[in-house]
């Protein structure tokens, strides 16, 4: 498994640099994934870009896990085009105060990805030059991808999970 050794090298290098700030390392489907914290995320991203040659920001998005202490995960996908490695970085932030430093200082292309994440999850990217809604209308008032907003009529009973043994 060549890819795994490459991922191991990256993991070792990251641990050397950031120590305990790199946690929950896993490799689902060969894609190195780890969790870090919002106080070091900008350093982690720029270290990955400058030193480990993850020059390409593939995507920024978020996931909502209601009921947890830190219920919103901001997910970054980076890509090292030369060595053909991808990496996934997650930062869990609190639902009540969803703030995280912006990545637009590292990649200009992060601009709209962060605006989309703000639009749908309410994550406030500190230092973002233009943090407005992007796909929804400005006076929507809610961040619709959060799990508390149901898609369908909540009175509908034929689609409840309990009817299917869950």
């Amino acid at each position: 498994m060549e890819e795994t050794t490459l991922n191991n090298t990256i993991h070792v290098k990251l641990t050397e640099k950031f120590g305990e700030k790199v946690t929950a390392v896993s490799e689902p489907y060969g894609l190195l994934t780890f969790v870090t914290y919002k106080d070091v995320i900008v350093n982690v991203l720029s270290h990955l870009k400058e030193e480990l040659k993850f020059n390409f920001l593939t995507d920024i998005t978020a996931v909502h896990y209601p009921g947890k202490d830190h219920g919103i995960a901001v997910v970054y996908h980076l890509h090292n085009m030369v060595e053909k490695v991808r990496i996934r970085i997650k930062v869990f932030i609190s639902e009540q105060n969803p703030t995280i430093p912006t990545a637009t200082t590292i990649w200009k292309g992060a601009n709209w990805m962060e605006r989309e994440t703000y639009d749908f999850f309410g994550v406030k990217f500190e230092g973002h030059p233009d943090l407005r809604r992007i796909l929804n209308m400005d006076d929507l008032g809610v961040h619709p991808m959060l799990k508390q907003y149901p898609l369908e009529d909540p009175n509908r009973v034929d689609k409840k999970d309990e009817f299917f043994g869950r």
Partner: protein, 404 residues
């Protein structure tokens, strides 16, 4: 006098800027999106892109649909090359479920995907021609998109929003008519494409309009996360089909064309060459299919592949599997997966998180049009309005993919 920075006296009536709303339903934008431009004469001083006019909340809807019902949603992302989106989604789920596809299915998929890449590039390149005033080229080549749609119609019954294939393969085998139509296309299209190139590639007016316009450096393209023909036009040979092969693309012999300056002319050339390469790939796939066992059009995974209706009504196991798939009761591992395919406009990524429920816990589409388009407003500054229009055409922004 420097035309980029005209100097006005205080009383000059031209010293005021004009605000122009380009869109949302402007005929030159080829899609529903708006740019509020500040114009100084014909030159753009600044611009603000406003998007979201056809936002349909696909990511939210996808959280409430079993896997097989998400395919029709992906149709409506880049609706000019729906099959690539469909296949990309199928392959994401197959990656999650660890399904190995038979080679024959991979090759059939490659044929469909490359045909739709040609259809996508036909639209973009003919529209660059159209917007530079060469309506003829548009009319000449555009009929071949119709022929490609006829092939899709033969394969899956639909033309534009195809919903082609299933998780685990195709819903049926390609019939003789489909192969006949593909062969006919392979024979006729090169002639038309050559004619199209003869009309435009060395055309002085076309070169004057496009060469050197909207040049993009490699650094800027990477900084803005560009992918696809736009990135390759700047000279970076990143193609998901090569760097991260899926659907047996490693079995094929093809080249990744690159440009040098990233201007509109280079983008046009890159897309044209990609059409030639797609033709090469389809020809190779047709040859490879001859050595594969006939009649295999899906993987042998009854618990994930929707059984034919006839089976469902006559066979107990098929009925059970059908019920489980339709109700989203399949045993998918609790995991998260990212899968990318090379769409018509660049890297189309699917980030899927499955928590074992009936529907995805989270599904995110990495949409190349959305990410490519954010550079449009900054790069338009200082550009002529008419150049910005062809710049937009050459970026091939598809509103469905832009807004999801």
């Amino acid at each position: 006098m420097n035309h980029n920075h005209p100097v006005y006296t205080d009383n000059d009536p031209q010293s005021e800027l004009v605000t122009l709303n380009l869109g949302p339903t402007h005929p030159a934008t080829h899609g529903v999106f708006q740019n509020v431009l500040q114009l100084d004469g014909e030159r753009i001083v600044s611009g603000v892109s406003t998007i979201g006019y056809i936002h349909r909340a696909f990511e939210k809807i996808a959280e409430h649909r079993p896997f097989y019902q998400i395919t029709p949603l992906t149709d409506r992302l880049n609706y000019c090359s729906s099959p690539i989106n469909n296949m990309g989604w199928h392959m994401t789920v197959e990656k999650l479920l660890n399904i190995q596809m038979p080679k024959r299915v991979d090759y059939l998929r490659v044929i469909v995907m490359e045909l739709s890449r040609i259809a996508d590039h036909i639209i973009c390149n003919t529209i660059i021609g159209q917007d530079t005033g060469a309506t003829t080229t548009f009319l000449y080549l555009f009929q071949f998109r119709e022929h490609i749609y006829e092939i899709f119609e033969e394969v899956c019954g639909a033309r534009l929003t195809t919903n082609i294939g299933r998780i685990g393969g195709f819903e049926r085998d390609f019939n003789e008519v489909a192969f006949a139509k593909i062969n006919k296309f392979l024979k006729e299209f090169p002639v038309a494409l050559k004619e199209f190139e003869n009309l435009l590639t060395r055309n002085r007016i076309f070169i004057d309009r496009t060469a050197g316009v909207a040049e993009v450096t490699q650094e800027a393209a990477l900084e803005y996360s560009w992918t696809g023909p736009l990135l390759r036009a700047t000279g970076i040979d990143y193609d998901v089909r090569v760097s991260d092969p899926y659907s047996s693309y490693q079995d094929f012999d093809f080249e990744v064309p690159v440009g040098t300056s990233g201007d509109i002319y280079d983008r046009y050339l890159v897309r044209n060459e990609e059409m030639w390469q797609s033709l090469r790939i389809i020809e190779q796939a047709i040859v490879k299919l001859k050595t594969e066992p006939k009649g295999i059009f899906h993987a042998d995974v009854p618990e994930f592949y929707l059984p034919p209706k006839q089976e469902v009504y006559n066979n107990m196991e098929a009925l059970i599997y059908h019920f489980k798939i339709v109700m989203g009761e399949i045993d998918a591992p609790k995991a998260e997966v990212y899968h990318a395919v090379e769409g018509g406009n660049g890297e189309l990524g699917f980030y899927l998180i499955n928590d074992g429920g009936r529907t995805p816990y989270r599904l995110h589409f990495r949409r190349p049009s959305f990410i490519n388009y954010q550079m449009f407003a900054p790069m338009s500054e200082g550009m002529l309005l008419s150049d910005a229009i062809i710049n937009m055409s050459s970026m091939n922004i598809i509103a469905g993919e832009l807004d999801a």
